[in-house]
């Protein structure tokens, strides 16, 4: 059956679904060991510090910006300068690029956490249920997963967003969340499947625990590292999807995002006019954020999976 084949989505460079057997969680004394390896792992430290730095920037930035992100200041196509707070210059229309940039960065985090979080929750519910229960429930959920997996969800998002007159950042995150869970559900189903037949699960079942208790207290903790990595990948993926949607002109209608900054710069011929301060920062920020998330993910993989540790 094709569904038993582990699959690797493009968005998961260090695809954890390739691990055939999820490692059983280490006893509590393992926490110290994990921390020891985590702090020595350069990839993890790099990814984590980069993400934290960007997060800090996204939180603090809007407070130190001296102009509103959409306000017209009357200064046109200003190159980056220290005068008047235009640290990243202005757009062709006289808006402060720095203010737009930090607002967009903040939205990227919101979309990533919300969209990735929703996708992770749906993926967990469906993956755990399908893996734990066999028979008709599994068949049905599997069918659902396969159908959503085959539908080009990006195109679907296009149609839905195009028909919405007023679009908000929350709505965008929710839509991204409910369309990007299938690969996670599929990978979790396979993982759950391999855990269900283990002795400790049988033991729990014999002791009369309910299915929900077994899933959340016995099975899920044994893949906590895996779940965390899955969330990171969904987080990064959601940011990229949102940027693409925004660039097509389907972004939130009452604010500005990094994707919209790029759209507006292309639309206003910023490339031909060499207004590089307008179109370079937004893409660079997305690249840095998503890239550091991916690198962090590889680092985590190496920390949790002893086979991958570089000796």
């Amino acid at each position: 059956m094709s569904s038993s084949v582990p699959t690797a989505p493009l968005a998961s460079p260090a695809d954890p679904s390739q691990v055939e057997e999820p490692p059983i969680a280490a006893p509590t004394s393992g926490l110290h060991e994990t921390l020891h390896f985590a702090l020595r792992n350069k990839k993890l430290v790099f990814g984590l510090s980069m993400t934290s730095a960007l997060l800090l920037f996204a939180i603090v930035g809007p407070f130190i910006a001296q102009h509103g992100p959409l306000a017209y200041t009357g200064k046109l196509s200003l190159a980056p300068t220290t005068k008047g707070g235009f640290w990243f210059g202005t757009t062709l229309l006289g808006q402060d690029v720095f203010s737009q940039f930090v607002t967009g960065l903040r939205l990227a985090f919101i979309v990533g956490v919300l969209g990735g979080g929703i996708a992770a929750i749906i993926g967990m519910v469906i993956g755990f249920t399908a893996g734990y229960r066999s028979g008709i429930v599994d068949e049905g959920l599997n069918m659902l997963t396969n159908v959503v997996l085959v539908i080009p969800t990006f195109a679907l998002l296009l149609v839905i967003a195009a028909y919405l007159q007023v679009r908000g950042i929350m709505m965008e995150a929710v839509f991204i969340g409910i369309t990007s869970w299938p690969w996670a559900a599929r990978a979790l189903r396979a993982q759950t499947f391999s855990l269900v037949s283990r002795d400790f699960v049988d033991m729990a079942r014999l002791s009369g625990r309910s299915s929900r208790q077994i899933i959340f207290q016995e099975i899920a903790p044994n893949m906590s590292s895996y779940l965390f990595m899955m969330f990171i990948l969904l987080f990064g993926g959601a940011i990229l999807i949102a940027a693409t949607l925004d660039f097509i002109g389907l972004g939130p209608s009452n604010t500005i995002s990094l994707g919209m900054m790029m759209q507006l710069s292309v639309q206003n011929a910023a490339l031909q006019l060499h207004l590089w301060w307008w179109f370079l920062p937004p893409g660079l920020a997305i690249m840095a954020l998503v890239g550091s998330l991916y690198v962090m993910n590889v680092g985590l993989d190496e920390v949790f999976n002893p086979k991958l540790r570089e000796l």
């Binding site: 059956m1 094709s2 084949v5 582990p6 699959t7 690797a8 493009l10 968005a11 998961s12 460079p13 260090a14 695809d15 390739q18 691990v19 069918m143 396969n146 159908v147 997996l149 085959v150 539908i151 080009p152 969800t153 990006f154 195109a155 679907l156 296009l158 149609v159 839905i160 195009a162 028909y163 919405l164 007159q165 990064g236 990229l240 999807i241 693409t244 660039f247 097509i248 002109g249 994707g259 790029m262 710069s265 292309v266 490339l271 031909q272 060499h274 590089w276 179109f279 937004p282 893409g283 660079l284 997305i286 690249m287 954020l289 998503v290 890239g291 991916y294 690198v295 086979k307 991958l308």
Partner: protein, 330 residues
Amino acid sequence: MGRYFLRKLVIYAVTFVVAVTIDWAIPHLMPGNPVLTLVGRIQIQDPRVAQALYHHYMRAFNLDLPIWKQYWYFWVSLFHGDLGTSILQFPTPVMTIIVHALPYTLALLVPAIVLSWYAGNKFGALAARRPVLDNSLLPFGYTLTATPYMWLGILLVWVLAVTWHLFPVGFAYDPTAQRAFTWPFISSLAYHWFLPFLSLFLVSFGGWAIGMRNMIIYELESDYAHYLEALGAPQRLIRRYAFRNAMLPQITGLALALGAIIGGALVTEIVFSYPGLGYQIYRAITNEDYFVIQGIFLFIIIGVLIANFIVDIVYLIVDPRTRIGMEGGR
């Protein structure tokens, strides 16, 4: 084998029905009336004329029928290849717009997908467990996969086209060129095609290279690889075995990645003003030309389903276990 295909076909059929139903339902669920937009666009002063025109269009688009009949007619016209009429480019049928745009999108997508997959797998396999190569490929690959498609396009246009004048800024061919099957025109096409292709190729390449690298490392750590090593098999042989096994998830991954790559192609076309489906959808969205958006969505669905089916067949050929498993053997 028959059961395998039957199962796949059922999934694809369900997917198609679901997609078409969603495509039909969205405009009915959303607030706003596209016919009002259409009538509003024509800007008629006399309200009676506007009223008459409104009813005419309601009838023309079957919007005055009961809802189940509308759904049924949607399917009927779909199978007649009728996807409605463009509002922006009235009265051009949506089908005509799509048929004209499709070759450009395919010319970008197919080579970009195939070549990036091939090159990515080769490079990824080469880099795995080879520290010198790995240390340069890994950061490079992660940077590329994390890059938004349109931003790489923007960067390429700005550096190579606007600043250095090495390539054209956009469009599919030189507007002064004669559209004919001649060398100057074909070279103009190729010249304009290269940058959008490169930008798509590079982003996908990073993902495939990293995926393959990780997969090979897992394979090299597996029991059969260690066993071969213990037997004293040459590294090349072990790597070849690992490559073949690592290939399978990459093939499945290809089917999964299609949606993302298509999204990437759409925005790349917008950056380069390349007249494919992405450019058309952008125009349609900025002008609220809904039938075009819906029509292109259906075309993308059909394309993805066909591509998935091809991947399935390839998988069947490449992995003997699928064949045997499907025939009920052990």
